[in-house]
């Protein structure tokens, strides 16, 4: 009798937990890749991937790219890295560090929080960064070139 009741509770708990996991809404909001409003380049997702993999460090106009990354602990960094680069934020940051110590790093990468990224991109014509869509809405002089959904 006791065994049956215990099993019943176990089933109910398992079903409840499963439903919670399945129906839990995603709290992550879309990320957007941004450039300055005066940037006239035609930028594809492959180009963004190359920029963030340190394969491309100049714009078509010949100007050096000023690149912004988010801190590794920012959820947005994980979404961006996993979706666009197909690697974790930790691996992506390790790759930058590895390029730095190998002395093969090409891009001038800066790691800043989202609001600072938005401000810098809004005042620097050659900058590129990614931030949450809700942060981008609050800033002028920036142009969204790609939206990334988790």
């Amino acid at each position: 009798m006791m065994r049956n009741i215990t099993l019943k509770y176990l089933y109910v708990t398992l079903i409840t937990v499963t439903i919670m996991f399945i129906s839990a809404p995603s709290l992550a909001q879309p990320m957007v890749v941004i450039v300055n409003v005066n940037n006239t380049e035609s930028i594809s997702s492959e180009m963004i991937k190359q920029i963030y993999s340190d394969k491309r460090n100049f714009w078509e106009t010949g100007n050096p790219i000023l690149l912004f990354e988010l801190p590794v602990k920012d959820k947005g960094r994980e979404i961006f890295s996993e979706t666009l680069l197909n690697k974790s934020a930790i691996t992506s940051q390790s790759d930058w560090s590895n390029r730095y110590v190998k002395n093969t790093i090409k891009n001038k990468v800066k790691m800043k929080p989202q609001k600072i990224v938005a401000k810098f991109v809004s005042i620097n014509k050659h900058a590129i960064g990614y931030i949450a869509a809700s942060v981008a809405e609050k800033h002028n002089n920036i142009k969204i070139i790609m939206t990334i959904n988790e």
Partner: protein, 441 residues
Amino acid sequence: MKVTRNVIYIVLALCLFTHLPATADEALNIKNNELDQRIIALEKLVESLILENKKPIFPINNSTSSTQLSNNKQQQLNQKKIAEHSVQLKKVNDISEQAEMAIYSYEDLSEEISNNINIAGYADVEYRGYNDPNKNEEFRIHHLSLFFTKQFDNNIKFFSEIEYEDAPKFEGASDGSGNSKVSSGKIFVEALNFDWNYSQHFNMRLGRFFTPAGIWSEDHYPPFVTTQERPLHIRKIFPQLVDGILVFGSTEIVQNHFFNYTTFLGNGESEANSSGKTDLNSSKGVGFKGDYSAPWLDDFILGFTLYQDNNDSSVNVNETINAKKFAYGYHVKLRQNDFTFQGEYSKGTLDFEKSLENYKTEGYYAQLVYKLDQWGLGYRYDVFNEKDITIEEITRNSLFVNYHVNEHFTIKGEYHHDSNKALLKNDYGFYVLSITGYLGK
């Protein structure tokens, strides 16, 4: 039995380590959070002031009380409100200017900091064990490397790496003789160079640098590679370092397909024990490395390396037995999802004055790594034949596991098993447990 017990202790210690919280970026995060808070406060203040100023200066009042006020009184009230409104507008302007100044100051400060000399580094500590009863298990304080870099302006950069290997100790005798009492370990300037970065297509480097040959020659730093032990042929066919000049760049041959080139001219291996000063002969080593990178898979790199030194003394730097050395190699690196494959093949030909002494040297490896979250699990098959004689051939099978605690800190375990073709040489196995830390940002 002793080995098993020690392995259990080490594994338990590693398990404990994996639960340590990552704290390396805390200071930076606090600083960033403070700045965020300040920006949020400023934004709130600006928003509230803007809202305040959106309110009508002269509130609409339908009552007849306004008609009861004298014209003078109404005028005074209006003037007062206009004055208040002007003060508030000035406040908004001031705060906007301050916010803008704060952003620019922050940018200036960032620029100033990045223009100062930057210090980074890495360190690793190992525990090694062997299946040879005559060899003791040991802790090894393997590396402490410090990197000093300075960006002089947009185009000129200085880079250096000073390595302290095996916790070096140098101590003079206290009898005033100037003799050395203790000398152990190694202090070595592994890199020291100046870069002139002109464009994506053309850049120059002058000084000491790792030989751009294949993958592992440059990509060898313990926090970022899978094993503490490098593949057998690395540094034995192409030289470890070059003192000289390097020209490098990258070009997009067709859209999204890149060709990266690196070509160099240096003292070659005839430099006296990497002294950084004396080239033992007038001949220079010359090399070229090309990489083709395509937008296939998550990463796709194919490449080759060529190296020639007409008066190579690496075979014996203390004697004048020089050889004409020519070496070439291929390399490949592919990544798709959680799998990364990497392989290199190299072959060197050494021609001496007496052709009977000529020999070839050959090595290759293939490595597959599977990444699961912060874990990396892999296998490497590795072969090296130093003098093109079957009995000299060594085959190494390596199994390894990595745990990346965070972007700076990795715990590694690896087991290597060497098989010799020579009948008199026994097969040999050893393991390495290590922790490696990157000390930069």
